[in-house]
């Protein structure tokens, strides 16, 4: 029939237009030679103002666009190296720190770096008082006193703390993103309503870093461009293009086709699927997250030390990391992540059902013990919880799992209403005090105190002698003695507290095999782009 013709024609037209569009795809399959293309989930970014940013993706960006007075060497975890301060010192009084500013450094605007910029930046952190400000204000700075506590003269910045602290504690805190030095003139030129340039810095950068922000679309992408003549030596690649691609399978396809250089969002399934692909390499390093089970000490049975010890022997740590957590988690039984000053590698506990049974029999509690455990609704956590449920049952503890949405479980935990809970904790800044202060400090164990920021308080746990040790460690001026103190605290904490640390999370980064020298920052989580070559 004659009406066949127009239909065929229209089909042909559609097909032709599809093919016309498809043709150039093959030509552009590789990423541009001078550009590092990274896929990651960047929708966690609240702000890229370095004195406000407190999320993983935001601090990655800050690390590459700003510098700090003191820095951590990305290639040697935990090692302090000079940043914008070429040297530093602490006076005999233990409270006066001086930093000598590196000469001939300029900001992206062309303005020279002055001691004034450094002092002003640290003051700005305290005055803005955004989420990460406590990292500096814990040294006794307040908006009222900070102009006297942090001052400058010539090429020197002087910082006075309210009391003597361990110098390593002070320096480590300055390496955090919040210690970034900003260009005072540029930032203040963009001030609106006394916000010290906060609104402007949410979408712009004004640092001395290896890269400058060229474009930023929240939850979509950002583009960084390398600066010429950087004091540390120029970045190897001219541009960094970050794309927000949260889906694992999509990441894998893009990486296999060579449309991205690095993926930070691949899952175990994707990694398994890419095994044997010579074009792809997967690198693993330790992240800062610790997964633990903790017991509310308001529950009489759970306050029984024998019950707590029995539980430590009734978890199949090894079995989990060798099966469903393979590659994702490493067994770790202390509250400081490996890589931190004073961290310990020992794993004395392993699955021993008989020992657990014996301990429970000694404890005098009625068996089987009926306990509820609250867990956040995510795959790896519910898997962990089910394994614990299984081995606990063999020992004589019947676990009921209460699985809920993250904020819901957290709400219960902060209100001290849980029995057992499976949780994770990531450090806030690269110093052992960040975790010690929450796992082993609880100034007031009463309900009224409401110290919700302390994990010890949430579990109604009185750390006893560990409190004094933790207070001593944070002011110990000798780095070796300080390390030894943290080791001691962790061992005692591990064996007596209601916390059962189980795992430390791994970072897994999949990249094209030609990509070299990408450092995620490991436990500190500040990725370094300027060393990457391809």
């Amino acid at each position: 029939m004659s009406f066949d013709l127009p239909f065929r024609r229209s089909t042909a037209l559609v097909l032709a237009s599809l093919l016309a569009g498809a043709a150039p795809a093959a030509l552009m399959a590789q990423t541009p030679e001078d550009t590092l293309v990274i896929a990651d989930a960047i929708d966690d970014i609240v702000s890229i103002d370095p004195h406000e940013a407190f999320e993983f993706s935001g601090t990655d960006l800050v690390n590459n666009t700003y510098d700090s007075l003191v820095e951590l060497d990305p290639t040697r975890p935990g090692e302090l190296v000079p940043g914008l301060a070429e040297s530093w010192d602490v006076a005999e009084d233990g409270v006066t720190y001086t930093f000598k500013i590196r000469p001939d450094v300029s900001f992206a605007s062309g303005n020279p770096l002055r001691a004034e910029d450094a002092a002003w930046s640290l003051q700005r952190v305290v005055k803005l008082n955004k989420a990460p400000a406590f990292i500096l204000t814990q040294f006794g700075f307040t908006p009222e006193n900070v102009e006297e506590m942090i001052t400058f003269d010539g090429d020197t910045v002087t910082m006075k703390t309210d009391k003597p602290y361990a110098p390593t504690f002070v320096y480590n805190c300055l390496t955090a993103a919040v210690g970034a030095i900003v260009d005072k003139e540029t930032v203040m030129a963009n001030e609106v309503d006394g916000d010290m340039g906060n609104a402007w810095l949410k979408t712009n950068t004004a640092g001395t870093g290896a890269y400058v922000l060229r474009s930023y679309k929240p939850s979509d992408s950002y583009i960084l461009e390398a600066r010429e003549g950087h004091w540390r030596g120029d970045a190897k690649l001219r541009r960094v293009f970050m794309r927000h691609i949260p889906e694992g399978a999509t990441n894998r396809l893009l990486l296999e086709r060579g449309d991205i250089d690095i993926s930070r969002e691949v899952t175990s399934v994707d990694i398994e699927g890419m095994e044997g692909n010579a074009d792809i390499r997967v690198e693993t390093d330790l992240a800062g997250y610790i997964y633990y089970v903790s017991a509310n000490q308001k529950n009489e049975a759970l306050a029984n030390p024998k019950v707590l010890e029995a539980m430590r022997w009734a978890i199949d740590y090894q079995g989990m990391t060798e099966s469903f957590l393979k590659g994702e988690q490493t067994v770790h039984q202390a509250f400081l992540p490996r890589g931190y000053l004073g961290s310990i590698d020992e794993t004395p506990y392993s699955l021993d059902i008989e020992k657990a049974k014996a301990l429970l029999a000694e404890s005098g509690v009625t068996l089987p013990l009926e306990i509820k455990m609250s867990v956040r609704n995510s795959q790896n956590r519910t898997d962990m919880a089910q394994s614990v449920q299984n081995t606990f049952a063999q020992a004589g503890i019947n676990l009921t799992l209460s699985i809920g949405e993250g904020a819901e479980v957290l709400g219960e935990y902060r209100a001290r209403q849980h029995d057992l809970t499976l949780q994770s904790w990531g450090p806030d800044y690269p110093d052992p005090h960040t975790n010690a202060s929450t796992f082993a400090l609880n100034a007031d164990n009463s309900d009224e105190a409401n110290l919700t920021g302390s994990l010890a308080w949430r579990n109604a746990y009185d750390p006893g002698e560990l409190m004094a040790l933790t207070e001593a460690a944070v002011i110990e001026r000798d780095a070796d003695k300080r390390r030894a103190l943290y080791e001691e605290i962790q061992r005692k904490h591990r064996d007596t507290s209601p916390f059962i640390a189980m795992f430390q999370e791994n970072n897994r980064t999949a990249m094209r095999s030609n990509v070299q020298n990408f450092y995620t920052g490991g436990t500190v989580d500040q990725a370094t782009y300027w060393l990457v070559e391809k």
Partner: protein, 354 residues
């Protein structure tokens, strides 16, 4: 003398099109108010503490209380709802818990990508679905009809997530015929961000306006696959509906008359019958267009398409209720508006519906 009685003045009536539009606007307003009520209630009954979601794990009790008051959560429920409606009417959908940005600003940035995708997908659905439906109707029971039916059934029954991944794997991963996830290749994408004025947020239009034809073709190679996957479902629906409308129409007497008078068959089918079928089809097409604007959530996730669907999904995973509900309100409004518009169009076009 005869007195001519005054003829009573006819009651004042607004012209018909205005009455029609006024009535529609009223029912639109009521529907949207209902929608706002539903999203408000959902936002209050989900077991997610919005305060905790904002301040996070580390916050103190004082910060908690301050934030709770700042959010207006200490006010009575009816007042909270009144504030919510008042804000929504002014385009203020609240602040995203995750990003602290205004939800309405976010939506303005994300919507063009979705609009572009859904429009191309609907074009695909109409250009393929209508002819396929006509073809099937004119040859009922033949192999042509069977194929159209089977292809249509597959479009209905295959989960879009699976279909999208499979299509990506074959046409992008293995064959390399089309661009991958995202709206442009990395190189073009950077050029687009840095050098092309973004007037509409729709890449095909912006690159065409800037005369960047290489980039335009690249964008086309990226939109082909997601729009085809998305358009497949609506194509299936449109072709089935076209077939049934057409079958009905071809049995009418005026068709027989036309045929008896010796009119060529293609003219009978493609001009006379199709013209009448187009009236009810407008509703079908408008509804499937609205469906694509909301139903692209999964497709956008797989194809890393920075549209409203991705936005709502990401927000959902982060328990960011203001963003989820804001997105829902916008999708709901678009749906209701398109529905009413098609209704209006239908009544204006079809004399029988007057």
């Amino acid at each position: 003398m005869t007195v001519v009685p005054d003829t009573p003045a006819p009651p004042f009536r607004l012209p018909r099109p205005i009455r029609l539009i006024g009535g529609t606007a009223l029912s639109l307003a009521i529907t949207i108010l209902g929608l706002l009520l539903v999203t408000f209630i959902i936002g209050r009954v989900v077991p997610i503490d919005p305060v905790l979601a904002i301040i996070g794990e580390r916050a103190t009790t004082e910060q908690y209380e301050a934030t709770r008051i700042a959010l207006g959560l200490d006010e009575p429920m009816w007042k909270q709802f009144a504030i919510y409606v008042g804000d929504a009417v002014q385009g203020d959908l609240g602040q995203s818990l995750r990003t602290r940005r205004e939800v309405s600003e976010d939506i303005i940035r994300y919507f063009p990508a979705t609009l572009e995708l859904a429009t191309i997908a609907t074009l695909f659905g109409v250009l393929v679905g209508v002819p396929a439906g006509v073809l099937a109707a004119t040859r009922p029971g033949t192999w042509v009809d069977q194929i159209v039916r089977i292809v249509g059934l597959m479009g209905y029954s295959m989960p879009v997530f699976w279909l999208g991944l499979l299509a990506l794997l074959i046409f992008y991963g293995i064959l390399g015929w089309v661009g991958g996830p995202g709206r442009l290749d990395a190189g073009f994408s950077m050029m687009f961000e840095l050098d092309v004025p973004q007037r509409t947020g729709m890449i095909l239009i912006d690159t065409a306006l800037a005369g960047e034809w290489a980039m335009f073709r690249n964008a086309l190679s990226h939109i082909v696959l997601p729009s085809a996957v998305l358009g497949y479902t609506s194509m299936a629906y449109i072709s089935r509906m076209t077939r049934s409308f057409m079958m009905n129409e071809l049995g009418q007497e005026y068709i027989t008359t036309a045929r008896v008078k010796g009119m060529p068959e293609w003219r009978v089918v493609w001009v006379h019958a199709l013209k009448n079928v187009m009236v009810p089809l407008i509703t079908v097409i408008a509804l499937s267009y609205a469906y694509l604007l909301e139903g692209s959530v999964l497709t956008e996730t797989i194809f890393a398409w920075p549209g409203l669907g991705s936005y709502i999904t990401d927000a959902l995973f982060a328990a960011d209720m203001p963003a989820v509900l804001g997105g829902t309100v916008v999708v709901g409004v678009v749906f209701v508006t398109l529905n009413m518009a098609s209704d209006l169009l239908y009544r204006l076009v079809d004399p029988r519906a007057r």
